[in-house]
Amino acid sequence: MSRGIYSDNERVALLWGARITPALSTMFGSMLAWAPFISAMPVMPPFGLMVFLCWRFLHPMMWPIWAGLPLGLMDDLISGHVIGSGMLSWTLMLMLFDWLEGRIVWRDWLFGLTMGTLTVTVYLVGSWMLTEQHAYFLAGMPQLLFAILLYPLVMQMCAGLDNMRFRL
């Protein structure tokens, strides 16, 4: 099986908690959009996507290539995006990163940080443009700023979960 870092230790990979933690944490990130605040502008960073990306850069082979389909659909439904937009963009992201990583020589945490930040930025700006909100650049700045500043934190939390999940 092509299970990435687990291929040398299949017994570990079959641990139940270790396998569902990434998907559950991504879904939890999406569910943060259910926070009970009402605001005139979008302020909540796309936590679901951020967790998804952090796991991707932590373990490049962990997500199967189709993982963006169910997780993106969940995100679409929970946060009220157009259905299909998350499925499409998340899967394309996975494919893009696989293609990119075949071309770069070195991969380290800095690559994950820059690529993740860039991706979130492109994703947010793209979603403003697609929904045709006239004043999106000004109105969306807080959301984008929060997302960029919180990305390293999400990365840390994913790494923490990664250490914990084999003991679940």
Partner: protein, 304 residues
């Protein structure tokens, strides 16, 4: 470190097939997602059942969380009240004195209005209240401005119904679940509301900017229609929104355009009312009114 090439699983046929089928699933999924987006673009209401279920799933979290948030918000306010008690008291007394005289004036005008209306044989068109509900959340991560209310099809809410707060219009229902519904707010770019200026009754319409402000355009081209401080109310034109609901306050104007802010702030409102669809009555009894309409039409054409 250099990236290990995991996507090449070696000589195992089984692993190669697994990888290949993974890509097949992904590509098929991407195409399906694209079709879903296109379908949603041409038929925005196509997936409202699915989206209704999704908003139902989220509504318990939202309403519990909102109660907790309100609890903390309330204690915050209480402390502030103690600090400003004396000055607030004085202000309120002065305000009350002013309000009393205005109330008497308003009562007189109301009585007069009733008399004039009965003289004109105008029928009061009451739009029925469908449901009263709490505003429990909004889409925080999505660029579209959508709020969630805690009433759905069980309470008779249907998509398209207008939603108002006590002090003004909030928006209209986008899709409904069994016990929750998503409401498109006025500030969303896809929301269009026909309005009148309260001052002189000139018509226009209001669209959202997406950043909490509204763009307002007049229908009479060229004229300097809007002034700062103008109050805009729904006109009822085209049905859907009932007339005379306060919508927005103009904060700046450029010719026949202007910028406005909604009067009812969804962030500050707890309770909203879902109204039934407004259907303006057709000009009934064509026979007596037809000549009058002709005269009016002629007047309109001769006086441009």
């Amino acid at each position: 470190m250099a990236p290990p090439n995991h996507r090449r699983p070696g000589f195992s046929r089984r692993a190669q097939y697994a990888l290949f089928s993974g890509y097949v699933v992904a590509v098929v999924g991407v195409i399906a997602a694209l079709l879903l987006i296109i379908a949603a673009h041409f038929d925005p209401r196509g997936f409202r059942a699915v989206q209704g279920v999704a908003s139902d799933a989220g509504s318990p979290f939202m309403s519990v969380g909102r109660s907790i948030a309100r609890l903390f918000g309330a204690t915050d306010d209480v402390i502030a009240y103690y600090l400003t008690a004396v000055s607030t008291n004085d202000e309120l007394k002065a305000e009350l004195a002013r309000a009393r005289t205005r109330l008497v004036q308003a009562r007189v005008i109301e009585a007069q209005n009733r008399e004039l209306r009965s003289l004109l044989k105008l029928q009061d068109q009451r739009t029925d209240v469908v449901a009263n509900s709490r505003l429990i959340g909004s889409t925080l991560a999505d660029a579209r401005r959508i709020a969630v209310i805690a009433a759905g099809t069980n309470a008779g809410v249907r998509s398209g119904f207008p939603v108002r707060a006590a002090n003004g219009l909030i928006g209209r229902v986008l899709n409904t679940g069994a016990f929750s519904a998503r409401v498109l707010l006025l500030t969303d770019a896809s929301s269009v509301v026909p309005i009148r200026i309260l001052r002189d009754g000139s018509p226009g319409f209001v669209t959202g900017n997406g950043d909490g402000t509204l763009e307002v355009r007049g229908l009479s081209a060229g004229a300097r229609t809007f002034r700062r401080g103008d109050i805009l109310v729904t006109s009822g034109a085209g049905g859907l929104y009932p007339p005379h609901i306060p919508v927005a306050l103009v904060i700046s104007s450029r010719g026949d355009e202007g910028t406005a802010v909604p009067i009812a702030d969804p962030a500050a409102v707890d309770y909203v009312t879902v109204l039934g669809l407004y259907r303006p009555e057709k000009p009934a009894d064509e026979v007596p009114t037809a000549p009058a309409q002709k005269v009016a039409a002629q007047k309109a054409t001769t006086t441009p």
